[in-house]
Amino acid sequence: MKKIINDPNSAVQDMLDGFVAAYPNDVKRLPGTTVIARKDAPVTNKVGIVSGGGSGHEPAHAGYVGEGMLDAAVAGEVFTSPTPDQVFEGIKAVDNGAGVLLVIKNYTGDIMNFEMAAELAEAEGINVKQVVVNDDVAVEDSSFTTGRRGIAGTVFVHKIAGAKAAQGASLEEVQAVAEKTIQNVRSIGMALTPCIVPAAGTPSFELKENEMEIGIGIHGEPGIERKEITTADEIAVELTEKVIADLGLKSGEEVAVMVNGLGGTPEMELFIVNKKVNQLLSDKGITIYDTFVGEYMTSLEMAGCSVTLLRLDQELKTLLDAESKAPAFRR
């Protein structure tokens, strides 16, 4: 393992301090916690929005804390959900009586920890609602299993729910628009190389020199298919077609596109993928309202990318365009 760290056990703590040092006017770290909150939290007369999850997905989730997006992000250990006490601290720090929305990615651990935190908060009289993001079309959607994972599409949920809350909407209204975003966002990822969790020291899986995995999860969970690597165009088509089919997108509809790097892929390659995504959508008569290319939801140093499409209506377009001062999503 070759990493720029001091100690695997302090990687998350060091990262959080470095993050606050980079954006001292925007965010603060709640003392003794792994919570990054808006500097001015709690904001008066506004629903608070709290998200978070395991670390290793930077800029998620702390990068999305700021006016117009999240009020707080709770960081767990690398690829490990934060604990209920930490999430509870985040909820308390952003609540001012208007209630708090939790944006949770659909993983067993995240759901259990955030639900326990919500129970603790409710016991203290804080009104808490939650939404669960499950945009990964690589996973079969079945009521008998854990269901689909939450991946890069979560960033759009942060943006839109955050914009709605900034308008002064009620907790129920913010939850409703977050649910609407979740209904209309789908993603799928692929990887060329695995990543190494600092505390583990070894790769979580192996791919041969000529192999890629389609449908990979953001913690290196296995995907749909492992096969020989092909061209960027073919990869872009395979990923985008799966998302289009699952969303049931038709000619004449409008979307936002996100081509997300998993941490070890140069922007050059992401733009090469985006060229084909753009072309494919245009060929199908699907209008691209806006495009986001870059690193939004990473998986440490994994090489690979994901493609996310968000179906837009007028309300979602307005909220997507609204101002955001979050360091990783300035609008």
Partner: protein, 206 residues
């Protein structure tokens, strides 16, 4: 026999030893079908448990179990933190103010713990989770009227080994569907360490 504060302290010491010794093994099991952090998380959490409970004095098992629960809840993370945290919290509640635990009380506490785990994880037996070990053990405990440390350990081991042939329906391994078959469930293995440690405590005290 009855379990008292000293027995529970010894139980946690032994469980921590087993988990520390098998940290890499647990992580490798989790790398095969999960996200590869189970050994790291359990080792960190149980080390914190030992730090917490060895620095405190306890007059009853309920308070001790509550501290174990709260430490696991806040230090393990992942899915295991809430699950083990809930299990020990339910035991603590079931044994409120008891300074020692007789066999029927222990069975009752195990029953409450299992219900807590199932509610928290929304899992049933046969879905390749730690419920497979806890529920199988509870069934065996109910067939007897006193501790049988040998049978207790054997039952836990068999239940743990039986997860190898199951297809995961809950947790991150469920994404693998039939590809999860042939791998042990890491949570069942850590549960086995916890219960085989309890078996050792019982064995040494009779």
């Amino acid at each position: 026999m009855k379990l008292d504060v000293a027995h529970i302290l010894d139980w946690m010491e032994k469980a921590n030893d087993k988990i520390q010794q098998n940290k890499t093994y647990l992580t490798s099991l989790d790398q095969a079908i999960g996200d590869g952090d189970h050994g790291i998380n359990m080792a960190r959490g149980f080390q914190e448990v030992i730090g917490k409970i060895s620095a405190s004095d306890y007059s009853n098992v309920s308070d001790l179990l509550k501290d174990i629960s709260m430490t696991l809840l806040s230090k393990v993370g992942g899915a295991s933190g809430p699950l083990y945290g809930t299990a020990f919290l339910k035991m603590s509640m079931a044994l409120k103010d008891s300074d020692s635990v007789d066999y029927p009380q222990f069975v009752h506490a195990m029953e409450e713990a299992l219900q807590g785990i199932k509610q928290r994880g929304k899992a049933e037996k046969g879905e390749k989770t730690l419920v497979d070990v806890w529920e199988t053990l509870l069934e065996q405990l109910k067939e007897q009227d006193d501790f049988d440390s040998v049978r207790f350990e054997e039952t836990a081991k068999l239940a743990m080994e039986s997860t190898k042939e199951l297809e995961a329906k809950k947790g991150r391994a469920a994404y693998l569907r039939e590809r999860s078959i042939g791998h042990l469930d890491p949570g069942s293995v850590s549960s086995y360490y916890i219960f085989s440690s309890l078996s050792d405590v019982v064995k040494e005290s009779v």
